[in-house]
Each structure stands twice: as structure tokens, then as C-alpha cells.
Symmetry: C2
Subunit: 162 residues, 2 copies
């Protein structure tokens, strides 16, 4: 839950200052009603994925302490890990300066956030020779999802797999 | 530049595997022609900011090794640090699984990515009592930008300041 704290977060200043709270933060006023959500691993600090949230996803995330996104391709809430079991327990949540992006620092159950079986969706590094896969798979998507993981997801889905 | 390497990146597997490169990755085929871009500090691993890139911004970023975004509010390229001097030297760049988000691991010149003077745009943490500022300011925006930093940026600008 959000009230938990870890001393391993040495990069977080430990003397918080209470600031104004507002119903407008995060700001869901864009036409699609979404904000960008970034998930970062609490232990490794690896950036795990980028997705989106509507107000309902945000509020359920805070209420349950489990990451819930909004799937643009499916037009519904996407409770991360609902099929694979690889849920994200939210450790801390941040809102950016203008309120249209949020950052979740999470415990990634199963060690992999990506539907292709990697810890992070950002498993391909740009190099002068092209894209290089610079991480190793944590799980076999064939086993977890029981289908062909090589089929590219539709544009904008952020590799959404339940 | 992107060919540079640091041994401090212990979370990066050091035996890359060459994967297919494609002109479709990143995928700029969405109607607005943009992908989401996340910047992470190479030294602290702190998530600094979320912004957007069109193809031109992406290509200039790779060619120059300096982060260039696309400002949706101004409808033009946004060379990060062009006014403040707080540029981002790109250490490594990653593309996510479905190609609609990129991650830049950067050296943040000046120690602050946020136009409000904080290291990260995510300086407000969600707590049961509301939002709390949990970092200290690195610079005074009044001095750097010479205007009132409290004026909220327009929705969707991601706190864009040159």
C-alpha cells in the first residue's frame, strides 16, 4: 500500500513537505481522459513500462495498492497481471509537475513486467548497428499466455497483456 | 553519444544480442505522429520526466546525443535545455516492446530536469494526506527563467520549458 516505506530508497528525501492537494491532480482533462503512467521497479529502479490511466484506473490503483491501467486498445481497465499473475504492488506513487503523468514505484511480482517475458518492456537498446536485446527473458510467454508472443501487438497497446 | 558505455550500469546485461532493426521502430504511425519518451538519470536512476517525440526529434536525438522532444503545446521541436542550459546528454536509448515508447538514460546537466527546479518532474508523492513534495529544489526557477514558475503550464505540456 502507499503508506509503506523502504529505507532502500536513498534517492528520496525523507523530510516531506505537505503541499496542496487538488482534484485536478492528476489532470484527466485531456480529450481522451488519460494520463501517462510509468512503472519503475522499486528494487532495481529499472523503468519497467509505460501505459495509461483514466481516473478510474488511478483511483483503483490507490485504493488497492495494485497497478491498474487503462487499455486504449480494449477500451477498458487493465488490471496488470490479471492473467499472468505478474501484478505490480505499488510502493509509492508520484505526480509530475503539470499533472499529466504519474510514476508508480512498484514491486513487480514474477520479476517481469513485459508480456514478451522480459523484466522491462524496454529490453531493446539502440546502437549504431540497430536494436539489440540487452536483457534476458525471465519467463517464456508461450507458457504464460499459451499463444505466439511474436505476433506484434497493435500500435498503441503498449504490449498490453493481462 | 550512444556508443558510450558505463560500467556503473550494473542492471544492464553486457552481452547484447543483435536483433532486427526496422524503420517502423519506434512506431510514429499514430495520428499525432508521436511516441512517449521517458528520461531516466544515468547516475541516480531517478525517472526525470515524461515527454513526447516525433520522428524528427528522435532522429536528432540519436544524431546529436542530446535529448530533443516535441512540444505539443508549441507545435515544434523542443531541444531540452535550450534556454536553461540544462541539457540531457543521452547515454543509452531503448525502445519498448511495441515501439510506441522510448526510454532515454541521460546525464542531466545542471542536476535538474524539471522547469520548477527539481531534479525530477515527479517531485510530488501521493500520500494519504495528499500530495507531498519529497525532493528539494536544485535551482530557483525565477533566476533561471526570469518569470513566475508557479503559473501552471497548460495541460499536456509536461512542464515544457526550454
Amino acid at each position: 500500500m502507499l503508506t509503506r516505506s523502504r529505507t532502500t530508497h536513498t534517492w528520496r528525501v525523507t523530510v516531506p513537505i505537505v503541499a496542496a492537494t487538488s482534484d485536478r491532480i492528476p489532470d484527466f482533462s485531456r480529450p481522451d481522459g488519460l494520463v501517462t503512467a510509468v512503472a519503475q521497479d522499486a528494487a532495481t529502479r529499472q523503468v519497467l513500462m509505460v501505459a495509461h490511466m483514466n481516473r478510474e484506473a488511478w483511483e483503483e490503483t490507490l485504493a488497492t495498492g495494485r497497478a491498474v491501467y487503462y487499455s486504449r486498445s480494449r477500451g477498458r481497465l487493465w488490471r496488470k497481471g490479471e492473467e499472468s499473475g505478474n501484478i505490480q504492488q505499488v510502493h509509492t506513487a508520484y505526480v509530475d509537475c503539470d499533472g499529466d503523468a504519474v510514476l508508480l514505484v512498484v514491486d513487480q511480482v514474477g520479476g517481469a513486467a513485459c508480456h514478451e517475458g522480459y523484466a522491462s518492456c524496454f529490453f531493446r537498446q539502440v546502437s549504431p548497428e540497430g536494436l539489440k536485446i540487452v536483457f534476458e527473458r525471465v519467463f517464456d510467454p508461450d507458457v504464460v499466455y499459451g499463444k505466439n508472443p511474436q505476433a506484434p501487438p497493435a500500435a498503441g497497446t503498449t504490449g498490453e497483456k493481462p
